[in-house]
Amino acid sequence: MKFGIGLAALLAASWVGGVTARAESMVFTSWGGTTQQAQKKDWADPFTKKTGIKVIQDGPTNYGKFKAMVESGNVSWDVVDVEYDFAVRAAKDGLLTKLTLPASVMKSIDPRFLTPYATGSFYYAFVLAYKKGTWGAYAPRTLADLFNTKKFPGKRAFYKWSAPGVLEAALLADGVPPGKLYPLDLNRAFRKLDSIKSNIVWWGSGAQSQQLLASGEAPIGLVWNGRVDALQKSGAPVAMSWDGNLTTGDMLVVPKGAPHVAAAMKFIAYATSAKAQAAFAADSGYAPINTGAEALMAKHALPALPDHHARSHVDLNMQYWANHRTEIANRWYAWQTK
């Protein structure tokens, strides 16, 4: 009897679900965790309220899946949050739909984060982060400290995959001036990384980097600034140093063959608007890519954003990475598995 009622309820629920699915909807895919939560809260939810278009969250972003969808012509994602170098390469490989955004929207986006196939999603930095109180009165300040295991003993958390960030940090710590970073001197970078190799713990996801830092498993590391921001907001005793922070942006793209292109364009226009960008920046600690957004933000929230540390930052060169990713990856995995 109970089973019968349950079954009826289930059928009713699926019927209702079927009806609402007929309303206009689209799928947004991002990296999960605290970042996607903020994207849902500040972009998707108000967008749905405003337009009636339902936004289904999916994730995490997976480039293999992305490519497989486009190649098979069976695409289920409409807007995807990707790394900048992937956006450049995917455009070249013909995996993306050209954006059609109103001129007023394009004008307000920071031109560094606008291409015919992608707009900025948010602007972030790799920062030196550490657990407070690990070394008594001392606190690490520079990228050189990140590589100094004598002064700051303990495991170091670094991003596991071959991607912009770690190699640049190694070179800067070794004394390469920021202006001469590219083309990357890979031999020198790996020599520097060799000096701390046994102390490296690799993190494969933002959530893992947070866990390593907060637990003290790796009391120091190079992580995404928004993840440290989220830890601080949750009350964890962690801090970051902006010295030599390495900045770049995530991008929003529409896969070729996406089923809801019109809704996707509307969503991107909303997500990159000053209001949505300001709300997301305040929640995530990632800087807005809309030039009008910061005027809308509370003064006290601004110092948490990467673009307020421009004096100490180094821009990661995504064009260089898009052109050399495979070659660097081969070296990277050869070194990692050695």
Partner: protein
């Protein structure tokens, strides 16, 4: 020696199967004429057809498509295989894969044999309890179990903190992000796959064999080595091969508990597929692994016979 023991095992197994057969069916088997049995055998083909179609559509076809990618992408030729075999990185990842799988198999056998033995000889209550624990661990989500190991093994984890609190060690032991972590985590996951076939093999042994051995003057060690081991060899080989082959393709546990210096092939393939989008090379790597695995399987069938692997 092995041969004689095998025959005994095979003979006993037949007896065992007959004993396990419900009386009705056993009686039918005796009554039905031969031709009916032959027809039953061919009509059986219809019954396995759905499974065959499923396997063909969702296993054989994708695998062939993958093989094609390995020789067609980015252009036709064998360059992916050449790249794979020429690179010390990939060769190292291959050897890591076999070292880890081998190590896990050895440890699993070492732990699984006494456990399976215990399950057979222990009083009913205890054997059921322990078997329940073994099965329950299998039913728990793999990811949850792997994360649980992270909590236990990390340097700020339960094991290290306890050892430090007890004054047994000063600095935390490196139990995670290395070979130790992978071996512990994977052995734990593989143990049921070893214990279950082994248990059924041991349960089917005839105690009279051991009585005969001791009557003939065999010591306990001799009886173990020259009677028990040869008799359970098929179960041991079946379990060992299953554990080894499953370990070769493992992804989650090595990714979370291992370090990069013992990266296994599945991680490399995932990286090639997801991040580098080099599907040709990924397909080639997958195929070399498949070929090696099939070779090993063939060797085992040749050496030990296929029928007895199912015991």
């Amino acid at each position: 020696m092995v041969r004689v023991a095998d025959k005994v095992a095979a003979g006993m197994l037949r007896g065992d199967e007959q004993a396990a057969m419900p009386g009705g069916i056993a009686a039918l088997a005796g009554v039905l004429p031969r031709t009916t049995w032959r027809r039953a055998r061919t009509t059986g083909v219809g019954a396995v057809l759905p499974a065959c179609v499923l396997l063909f559509l969702f296993f054989a076809v994708p695998v062939l498509a993958l093989l094609l990618r390995s020789v067609l992408e980015p252009r036709p030729g064998l360059q992916n295989y050449a790249a794979l075999l020429a690179s010390t990185t990939y060769l190292r990842v291959f050897s890591n894969t076999f070292v880890v799988a081998g190590l896990v198999t050895v440890v699993t056998v070492t732990l699984g044999l006494p456990l399976a033995w215990f399950l057979v000889v222990a009083p009913r209550f205890w054997s059921r309890l322990v078997f329940g624990i073994v099965i329950l661990s299998m039913w728990t989500n793999l990811l949850a179990r792997t994360y649980a190991w992270m909590v236990l093994l990390q340097s700020t984890g339960l094991i290290n903190r306890t050892l430090i609190a007890l004054g047994l060690i000063r600095a935390p032991l490196p139990l995670i992000y290395n070979l130790v972590g992978v071996t512990i985590g994977m052995t734990y996951i593989m143990l049921p796959f070893m214990v279950i076939p082994l248990q059924s093999t041991i349960a089917s042994l005839d105690h009279a064999t051991f009585q005969a051995a001791s009557l003939c003057g065999a010591t306990r060690w001799q009886s173990f080595r020259r009677v028990f081991l040869p008799l359970i060899l098929p179960g041991l080989a079946a379990g060992g091969l299953m554990v080894f082959v499953m370990s070769l393709g493992y992804y989650i546990t090595p990714a979370l508990l291992g370090g990069t210096s013992n990266m296994m092939l599945a991680q490399l393939i995932a990286q090639l597929v997801q991040s580098l989008l080099n599907w040709g090379l990924a397909a080639a790597a997958a195929f070399v692994l498949l070929a090696i695995t099939l070779t090993l399987y063939a060797a085992q069938v040749r050496l030990l016979g296929v029928g007895r692997m199912t015991t």
